[in-house]
Symmetry: C2
Subunit: 365 residues, 2 copies
C-alpha cells in the first residue's frame, strides 16, 4: 500500500520483479499475460505491480513490437468544422480498436504536409490518414506508400497514387445540383473556392484539388447537357480570408451580367458570401440564390435556411479509419471500396428562380 513512495523514475518490470522475488522474465510474462506462469508467481507479480503502481512504458513496448498503436492524421485545419467532424469519425473508430491519434494541421500547405508526414513516420505511427493539400504534387505520399506504411486518403484523391481514398463523388453531386439551379432558371452560376491557382480559371485547367476539379467538371457537364456553356468568368478561385471573399462576392453581383446564383465551396466561404450579400442590401433567394457545400446545423437558422450539399463527413472519417486499421492489422484490402459515400442535395430556402426569368420550374422540394 505504498501509495506515495517513488516520485522520480517510474516503476519498471525489473522493480516489480524484485518486489515479487521473481526474475524479470517471469514478471514480464505475468504482466504481459503470455508464456507460462504459475498461479503463485502471477499473484505475487500482480500484487507487487499493483502495490508499486506499475504502468508499462508504451514507448519501450512499441520499440520492440514495432507497433505504436497510434495513427497519424493530417488535415488542413481542425478548426474547420468539416475536418472537426471527420476527425471525430476517425478518433471514435480508432479508439474502438485501441488506437490513438496524433493530429497535425497543414493549413493546406504542401510544405507543412511533407513535414507532417515525415514527423509521423519518424514517430513510427502504424498508419496515416491524410487529406492531401495537393492532388497533384504527391511525391511525399508516394514515398509513404512505397515504404510500406499503411496510408489512406481522406476527402481528396491524389493523382497517380493508388491508395484507398475516402471522399464523396463530387462530380455527380455537383452535376446534379447545378442541374437543379439551371432548372430553376439560373444561367449565371458562380463558383467560389479557396484553391490556389497561378492565374484566373481557364476551362480544363489543372487544379491542386481533385475535389474542386470534379466539382467544376460536374458544373460544366450540367451546362453542356442543356446545350449551354458554363460561365467560366464566374469561377472564382484563390478566395482567401473573409475580406477577400466578400470582395469577390460584391464583384460577382455587380453589373448587368451579375451572377444569379452562387455556389460556395465550403461553409467558411458561404459565411462571408452571405455576409456580403446582406451588406449589399440584396436578399436570398429573391435577388441571388445560394448553394453551399457541407450541411452544418446553423444553415437551418439563417433567413432563409440554406440549401446545401450534405456530405457524410463523419462516415468518411469512420470509413477511412476502418480501412486504415484493416490495412494495419491484416489483409491488404478486402473490398476495394467501402459502402458508398454519397453527397445529398438538401433543398431548403436559399435557392429560387432568378428575377428576370419568372417561375419556369419551381425550385424546392
Amino acid at each position: 500500500m505504498s501509495t506515495d513512495g517513488s516520485r522520480r523514475r517510474d516503476v519498471t518490470v525489473a522493480d516489480v520483479a524484485k518486489a515479487a522475488q521473481v526474475s524479470k522474465a517471469q514478471a514480464a510474462r505475468a504482466l504481459g499475460n503470455y508464456g507460462a506462469v504459475s498461479d503463485d508467481v502471477r499473484e505475487r507479480v500482480l500484487a507487487a505491480a499493483e502495490g508499486l503502481g506499475y504502468r508499462p512504458n508504451e514507448l519501450a513496448r512499441s520499440m520492440n513490437t514495432g507497433k505504436s498503436n497510434t495513427i497519424g492524421v493530417v488535415v488542413g485545419d481542425i478548426e474547420n468544422p468539416h475536418f472537426g467532424l471527420a476527425t471525430r469519425g476517425i478518433t471514435d473508430t480508432a479508439k474502438k480498436s485501441g488506437y490513438n491519434v496524433i493530429l497535425i494541421n497543414t493549413d493546406e500547405e504542401r510544405a507543412a504536409e511533407v513535414d507532417a508526414v515525415q514527423v509521423l513516420l519518424d514517430k513510427r505511427v502504424d498508419g496515416l490518414i491524410v487529406a492531401p493539400a495537393s492532388s497533384v504534387e504527391t511525391s511525399h505520399l508516394k514515398e509513404v506508400r512505397d515504404s510500406g506504411r499503411p496510408l489512406v486518403l481522406l476527402d481528396r484523391a491524389a493523382e497517380g497514387l493508388d491508395v484507398e481514398t475516402f471522399a464523396v463523388d463530387m462530380g455527380t453531386i455537383s452535376y446534379e445540383s447545378t442541374k437543379y439551379l439551371i432548372e430553376a432558371g439560373h444561367r449565371r452560376i458562380a463558383f467560389v473556392s479557396t484553391v490556389r491557382t497561378d492565374g484566373p480559371y481557364v476551362a480544363g485547367m489543372t487544379l491542386d484539388s481533385s475535389q474542386i476539379s470534379d466539382r467544376l467538371e460536374g458544373i460544366r457537364r450540367a451546362f453542356e447537357e442543356e446545350g449551354l456553356s458554363q460561365p467560366i468568368d464566374l469561377v472564382r478561385l484563390n478566395a482567401g480570408d473573409a475580406d477577400s471573399i466578400m470582395r469577390i462576392t460584391r464583384d460577382l453581383l455587380k453589373g448587368p451580367d451579375a451572377a444569379t446564383a452562387i455556389i460556395a465551396s465550403d461553409g467558411l466561404i458561404a459565411l462571408s458570401v452571405v455576409e456580403a450579400i446582406q451588406e449589399s442590401g440584396l436578399s436570398i433567394p429573391s435577388d441571388v440564390s445560394l448553394l453551399m457545400y457541407d450541411d452544418f446545423a446553423w444553415t437551418r437558422l439563417t433567413t432563409p435556411p440554406l440549401t446545401v450539399i450534405a456530405q457524410p463527413v463523419y462516415d468518411m472519417g469512420m470509413a477511412a479509419a476502418t480501412a486504415l486499421i484493416r490495412q494495419i492489422e491484416g489483409r491488404k484490402s478486402s473490398s476495394p471500396a467501402g459502402p458508398p459515400l454519397e453527397a445529398r442535395l438538401v433543398r431548403r430556402g436559399s435557392v429560387g428562380s432568378p428575377k428576370d426569368v419568372g417561375v419556369l420550374s419551381q425550385a424546392g422540394g
Copy 2:
C-alpha cells in the same frame, strides 16, 4: 542514389555506420550532431545516411532521452467548434516549439477521461492539457500532478487541484451580461446548460462544472444586486440532445410565467433553442431575447444576429500550450497567470426589452 533498395526494416545508425565505415558511436555523433566528430567522418556519415534514406527512430530516441516531444490533449469533443478552435491554438503553439499533439475526446465522461489520461501517461507524453469533464472528481488529475508530469487545465478549473488553469472568468462576464438583461427589463431569465446533475437545480448546489457554477453565481449576484432574486425555476440543466433542448425551450416559453430571455450555455444549445423558438412562431427579440456563450461566425447571419459572449478560445489554447511547454522545458511557473483571458459581451440583435415592460432602458449599444 539508392532510392529504392531496402523495403523491409528501416535503416538504423548501425547500417549507416557500416556504410560509412565508422563505428556506431561515431555515426550517432555525426547524425545527432553532438560530441566530437572529424569533418571527414561527418561527411562520410551524412552521405551514407542520405544514400540509405536514414531516418532516426523517434521512439528509440524518446526512450533514452525521456522526452517524446508530444503533448496529450484531452477535450470533451473536438467536433464542438469551441474545442476545435482551442485545439488549433494548442497545436499551433505546440508546433512552433517542436511538439506534436495526441488528441483524445471524452464526450465529457469522467471514465473516458480517466482512461485518456492513463493512456497518455503510458505513452509518456511530455505533458497534458485537460479540459476536465468534472471539476469535482479530480483524483486522476491529482495523480498526474503528483507523478510530476506537467499538467495544465483548459476551460475549467478543478477543485482542490493547484494547477495552472486557463479559462475566462465566467463569474464576472455572467454577472455583467445578466445585469445587461436585467437593465433591458428582463426578470424571467432562463439558463440552459448540458451539465448533468442528479436532480433539478437548487441554489448553491454543487455542480460538476466550475464553469457553470460560476455562471450561475454571476447570474445570482446580478439579481441580488438589484434587490431581486434569481428565478431558479428557469435554470435548466441536464439538457441533452437537440430534441431535449427544444423540449426544454418550449417549456420555458409556456404559461404566464414564461421566460422573457434565455441564456444558452453554448453554441450547440443555442442552435436548438433558436430552432424551437422559430418553430413556436415566436420571434427574437420581440417575443423572447437570447444570449449565447461563444461567438461563432454564423451568429452574425441569423435574423436577428445573436448577442453573444465572446471568449478568447484560441488564445486560451495558446496560453495553455505555452504554459505547459514552459513547465516541460524549465522553471516551474514564472508568472502565476498569463495575460488575462477575458470574455466580452457582443451586443448584436437578439436581446431586446420584454413586451410587457416597455422600453425602460434601451438594450443595445
